[in-house]
Symmetry: C2
Subunit: 254 residues, 2 copies
C-alpha cells in the first residue's frame, strides 16, 4: 500500500513553506513561527514575520549595512525579500537569490522584480560576466560561509560575480558571546568533530517537512579575518551590537 510509515519529517522546502504560510496568514505577528532544529536536537523558533519587516522596523545594524549598498545589488538568501524590496524602493537594481522555491515565490508575490532560485554557484555560468557591485548577506547570512572548507569557495564565486570595487555587506553573530550551557556544549562537540566552534548543523522544519540538514557558520570577527585570508576580500569596516555584527568586505584591487 502506498502509505508512508516513516519516522520523522519528510524532506521538503520547509523554509519556503514557513514564509508562504506567513504571507498567506496576512503577515501578522504571532501567526507562523520559523522552527530551526540543530542536529543535537536543540529547537529554536522565531516569528516568521521577521522576514517581512519593513525597513522602518529594522535595527540600526541592518540600516548601517544597506545604506552602504551601491550599484547592482545581489541579495544572497533573500527570504521573503525584505532587503531586496527596500533596495528596489531606493532605486537600486537588485537580484534576489534564494535556494528555496517557495521563498522565491513569496519574493515575486511581494513585488521583487528579479528573483533567481538557486545558489551563488549556480549564477556562475560558463559565460557569466561580473555584474554585481554589492552583495547583501543580512540576517546572519554570513552563516552561508558554512565552514573552513566552504568559505573560500563562496567568497571566490562572489569575487567572480562582482565588478572591481565591489562590497560584501554581511551580518553575523559571535558564537562565543554566550553562557548558555547548551551552546557551550555544542562548541565542545564541534571541537571534537574538527569543526569550527560556531559551525551549526541545522534544518528548518514546517509541519511534517524538514529541509535537509545544512551547515551554517557563526564566527567571531577574528575567525572571519582568518577565513578571508587568501581570498579576494578584505575586512574594511565592522560595527557591533552585542554578539551581532555587520561587516563591510571590499574586493581587492586585482
Amino acid at each position: 500500500m502506498d502509505v508512508d510509515t516513516r519516522e520523522g519529517p519528510r524532506l521538503g522546502d520547509a523554509f519556503g513553506a514557513t514564509l508562504l504560510a506567513c504571507l498567506e496568514a496576512g503577515s501578522r505577528p504571532g501567526t507562523v513561527r520559523e522552527i530551526v532544529e540543530r542536529d543535537d536536537g536543540y529547537l529554536d523558533g522565531q516569528d516568521a514575520l521577521f522576514y517581512f519587516l519593513p525597513s522602518e522596523q529594522w535595527d540600526a545594524l541592518d540600516h548601517w549595512l544597506v545604506d552602504r549598498a551601491a550599484g547592482h545589488a545581489l541579495d544572497v538568501g533573500s527570504g521573503a525579500g525584505r532587503v531586496a524590496l527596500h533596495l528596489q524602493d531606493q532605486g537600486h537594481a537588485v537580484t534576489a537569490l534564494d535556494i528555496s522555491p517557495a521563498a522565491c515565490e513569496v519574493c515575486r508575490r511581494r513585488g521583487v522584480c528579479t528573483v533567481v532560485e538557486g545558489t551563488v554557484f549556480e549564477l556562475l555560468g560558463p559565460a557569466s560576466e561580473p555584474q554585481f557591485d554589492s552583495v547583501l548577506m543580512l540576517g546572519n547570512n554570513l552563516g552561508l560561509l558554512e565552514s573552513r572548507r566552504h568559505a573560500p569557495l563562496l567568497l571566490g564565486a562572489l569575487a567572480t560575480l562582482t565588478r572591481p570595487g565591489a562590497l560584501i555587506l554581511g551580518r553575523g553573530t559571535d558564537p562565543y558571546a554566550t553562557e548558555n550551557p547548551l551552546h557551550l556544549r555544542y562548541h565542545a562537540r564541534n571541537e571534537v568533530l574538527g569543526r569550527m566552534g560556531g559551525q551549526i548543523r541545522i534544518r528548518v522544519r514546517y509541519h511534517d517537512t524538514a529541509t535537509p540538514y545544512f551547515d551554517y557558520l557563526f564566527e567571531s570577527i577574528d575567525e572571519l579575518r582568518i577565513l578571508l585570508s587568501g581570498t579576494g576580500w578584505t575586512l574594511e569596516e565592522y560595527t557591533q551590537d552585542g554578539p551581532s555584527y555587520g561587516v563591510v568586505l571590499s574586493k581587492r584591487k586585482g
Copy 2:
C-alpha cells in the same frame, strides 16, 4: 573524550522543563511554547501558558466538567496544576498526579497540597484502598487511554482506585473532524499499522531534550463507547464543542 556527538535530542523531562521555564518566566503569554512532535515529523506548538490559566479563562467545556467533581478528586496528568488548584480553592480534597518530575515541582510551587509523581498504575499498591470519588482528565487527557490494548488497563486501574458511584470527567477530541491532509494521511498510516485512526505517537521537546515517544489517543465518541465496553465504566453524559468534547463516565454498580 566525554563529549556527546549524538544526532537528535537527549531524553529528558521536556514537558516539565517547558512548564518550569514558563513559571520562571513569570507565567506570561508569549514567553514559552510547548512543542509537540508527532512521529511523522509533524510539529505543533501552543503557548505553555495554557497549563497555568486560572478558571476564569477556561472554556465552557472545562467548567462543565469540573463543576461535576465531587468528593476526593484525582487529577490525572495535572501539568502545572490548574485543575487541582481550582478544585482545592473550591474546598475539594485533590491529589495531583503527573509522570513529569518538573511538572510536579511546578504544582508544588504553585501551592497544590498533594502531588504524586507517577502513573495511575503506580497508585495501585498491594494495599491500595479505593479512595477517589472523581477522576479528572481535562486538556485532552482522555488521550491517556493510549490504545485499544491500554484503555481497558487504565480504566480498570481507575475502577480499583475509586469508590462506588465515582465519576471520570474527561475531555477528548474527535480526530476525524478535520480536513487537514497531514492528519488524514496520518490516519491512513495508522490504519496500515493496525492502530486506531487518532492514535498519535508523540513526544514533547524542549531545547535539546525530548521525552520518549508515547501514544496519545484521540477518539470519536463512538470509539470511546467501544473502548468502555467490558470495563467498569459507562458513558453517562457528554457535551461537544466542535471536535472537542467532555464526557462523564460513571462507575458501574457492581
